[in-house]
């Protein structure tokens, strides 16, 4: 990719920044060739990756190097886009929101600083991936489990800070963060919670600060660069039972949510319960053309045939219980009785006890894997996906309302419907997976119009997304419209106070510093293909 300079930065000034940065991190860790820029682009870009181009990447190896680079960025006015491991696939990968930003790649900072089996937490740097943490726990044979996202290639901290979700009792990853260290936009260094006191041993145990609590102000945020954080882990359970029901009909999702959400809210079910529609199972069985060889959406009659042929329900509930065997057994009886009121089929039951075999793609048991990304092969070519991800109250009424709306809009654009609802408590995360071939320009353009329509129509109904791709960060922020977008106005006041040069991640989640406010909602934002 050719060089896109940051706004108002001359080639000379840019080179001076890179040279100064090389003095801090070493020349090998300043990466600014065309190939480097390609490697930091959005590999699932819906359209031309040059809409979100990085100018270079700098990879510091320590907190002090991060601080030095942030100070240099202020001096040379070169905005930085911090990434942990840069694997935010479907949401922009490592690419920056503002063209010409320099990616601050924290992948080299990959130390596991603490791993405590007794209080079940770890302290990690941003470059620690789920695989790294899992390997370390296995090597030491510690009784700890992870909660992993569908794509576990990325960073533990990066995923939590981006509000990623997993499918275990610890599945709301941002909630597992406890005690953060962050480099502020002026290069200052801060620790939150009890860590604000030097050497306080409760830093990663007590989740609040004395006074305002800022931990999550650094999530989906451009207020600083998180350089380490505590993450709570699940104590390994003695046993676990998976109960699997195939749920036959599309509208059954209403009673399913009304049945499971109260159990989740009461604490009887502690897992984040993931309920994918049939296509979620199908994408791992082959390629789309093996099942439907036309570009148009798979018609309903063919869907019904496929469900029969492959013995699938429209949805699948795979609910997992964790704990001592007697407790799990008792819980299972309650869950089965609740489900039986609507479905008179006994679930498949899969018991696991300590020491039993666990296969390598068992997301609900915290095994990291990238295999779910295999769905990119479904469409063929350079397959890619984006998720349209609104949050709805965990009741059948809201879930059905949301499902019917996105189903209708997606059908209007002649695209296959692949949705999931994850019951996280009082809410459900709905992900509508949109899969496309990056090299099919017409298909990409259609996906972008579809994404626009989904945001607009869903907001009209009163729901919003919890996370989105770079290209829609402004349109989604626009939907948070209470009191003349008070949330954004507050975010930008804080941003301008802490970061007068607007140097950290301008435009992240639609928060624009004054220095780059003219780039807000520019042509590269939203679905203007």
């Amino acid at each position: 990719m050719k060089l896109h300079l940051p706004p108002r930065v001359s080639p000379k000034q840019f080179d001076a920044m890179l040279q100064a940065a090389a003095g801090v991190v070493g020349k090998d860790w300043v990466m600014a060739t065309d190939a480097d820029r390609d490697a930091y682009s959005d590999i699932y870009a819906p359209g031309n990756p040059e809409e979100w181009p990085a100018s270079a990447a700098i990879a510091p190896g320590s907190v002090e190097e991060v601080r030095a680079i942030v100070r240099l960025a202020n001096q040379y006015k070169t905005p930085l886009w911090p990434v942990a491991r840069g694997k935010n696939l479907g949401y922009g990968t490592a690419a920056p929101r503002l063209p010409g930003s320099i990616v601050l790649d924290l992948g080299r900072m990959n130390r596991i600083l603490e791993l405590d089996p007794k209080l079940a937490y770890c302290v990690v740097e941003p470059g620690v991936g789920f695989f790294d943490l899992y390997d370390a726990i296995q090597r030491e044979k510690l009784p700890l489990w992870l909660s992993v996202p569908g794509n576990a290639w990325g960073s533990v901290l990066g995923n939590a800070l981006e509000h990623g979700i997993g499918y275990t009792p610890y599945g709301l990853h941002a909630r597992n963060l406890c005690g953060i260290e962050a480099v502020l936009p002026d290069g200052d260094l801060m620790r939150t919670g009890m860590g604000a006191m030097k050497d306080n041993p409760a830093w990663h145990l007590f989740p609040m600060s004395y006074g305002p609590t800022f931990d999550l102000a650094f999530s989906q945020s451009n207020l600083g660069v998180v350089t380490k954080a505590g993450v709570w882990l699940q104590p390994a359970p003695e046993s676990s039972l998976e109960l699997v029901w195939d749920i036959p009909n599309e509208d059954d999702i209403g009673w399913v949510v009304d049945t499971i959400a109260p159990l989740k809210i009461s604490g009887l079910v502690d897992q984040n319960v993931f309920i994918p529609s049939w296509l979620g199972k199908m994408v791992l069985k082959g390629q789309r053309k093996d099942f439907w060889d036309k570009p148009s959406a798979i018609p309903e009659w063919r869907v019904q045939e496929l469900l029969k042929e492959h013995k699938l329900g429209y949805w699948q509930v795979a609910l997992r219980l964790y704990g001592e065997e007697g407790v799990v057994k008792a819980k299972a009886e309650v869950v089965k009785a609740a489900m039986k009121r609507n479905i008179d089929v006994a679930p498949a039951e899969h018991w696991w006890h300590t020491g039993d075999y666990i296969h390598g793609v068992e997301t609900t048991m915290g095994i990291p894997s990238a295999v779910p990304l295999q769905m990119s092969d479904w469409v063929g070519g350079r397959g890619a996906h984006m998720g349209f991800s609104p949050v709805v109250p965990a009741t059948g009424r809201h879930v059905l309302d949301q499902k019917q709306r996105s189903r209708r809009i997606i059908a209007e654009f002649d695209v296959d419907f692949y949705a999931s609802f994850t019951i996280g408590g009082r809410f459900a995360n709905n992900v509508n997976m949109l899969m496309y071939d990056r090299d099919n320009a017409e298909e990409v353009a259609r996906m972008r119009r579809l994404f626009d329509a989904l945001i607009k129509e869903t907001a009209k109904a009163g729901y919003a997304e919890y996370r989105t791709h770079l290209g829609w960060m402004d349109p989604v922020m626009d939907t948070f419209d209470f009191n003349d977008n008070a949330l954004r106005r507050f975010g930008e006041k804080v941003k301008n106070a802490l970061d007068p040069n607007g140097i950290i991640a301008p435009g992240k989640q639609g928060i624009w510093p004054a220095a780059y406010a003219d780039a807000r909602a520019k042509a590269n934002a939203g679905g203007k293909a």
Partner: protein, 139 residues
């Protein structure tokens, strides 16, 4: 010593499962449960930009997310190799004899199909040299 034994254990696991794996159906992954998680070796300490690293260890550490037994890359490549009439064990890059070092370098830096281009933090040039020598059994 610890690392050596881990690597040996990993290699035994690869060979054993690759041999045991049933041939996949015409369009799907192998039947039965996926293989177990394969532990990667410990990342070598020291300067990652210095040449002379062990290609196999570096491959397993940095490419192992997808290219060990049961990984995403292995699954997709197994399908592809079967389609050209090869045996399923050739889904593992470590078992391939037709790769050249230059080809490995090109795919790592430019990406291919579902595989994204790898940054120089993912794999440094020195590490890529070692990995491409290890995988590039065809020269």
């Amino acid at each position: 010593m610890k690392r050596v034994s881990l690597i040996l254990a990993a290699s035994v696991a690869v060979t054993a499962t690759a041999v045991l794996a049933a041939p996949p159906g015409p369009m799907g992954p192998p039947p039965g449960p996926p293989p177990p998680y394969q532990l990667r070796p410990v990342e070598p300490a020291g300067d990652r930009t210095k040449p002379g690293g062990d290609g196999r260890t570096l491959f397993e550490v940095h490419c192992g997310y997808c290219h060990l037994n049961g990984g995403m890359g292995t699954n997709l490549l197994t399908k592809q190799r079967l389609m050209v009439g090869e045996t399923p064990d050739k889904g593992l890059l470590a078992n391939r004899t037709d790769l050249t070092a230059d080809y490995v370098k090109a795919v790592v830096r430019m990406g291919k199909g579902a595989m994204p281009a790898q940054t120089r933090v993912d794999l440094t040039d020195a590490e890529l040299d070692a990995v491409s020598k290890y995988l590039g059994k065809a020269g």
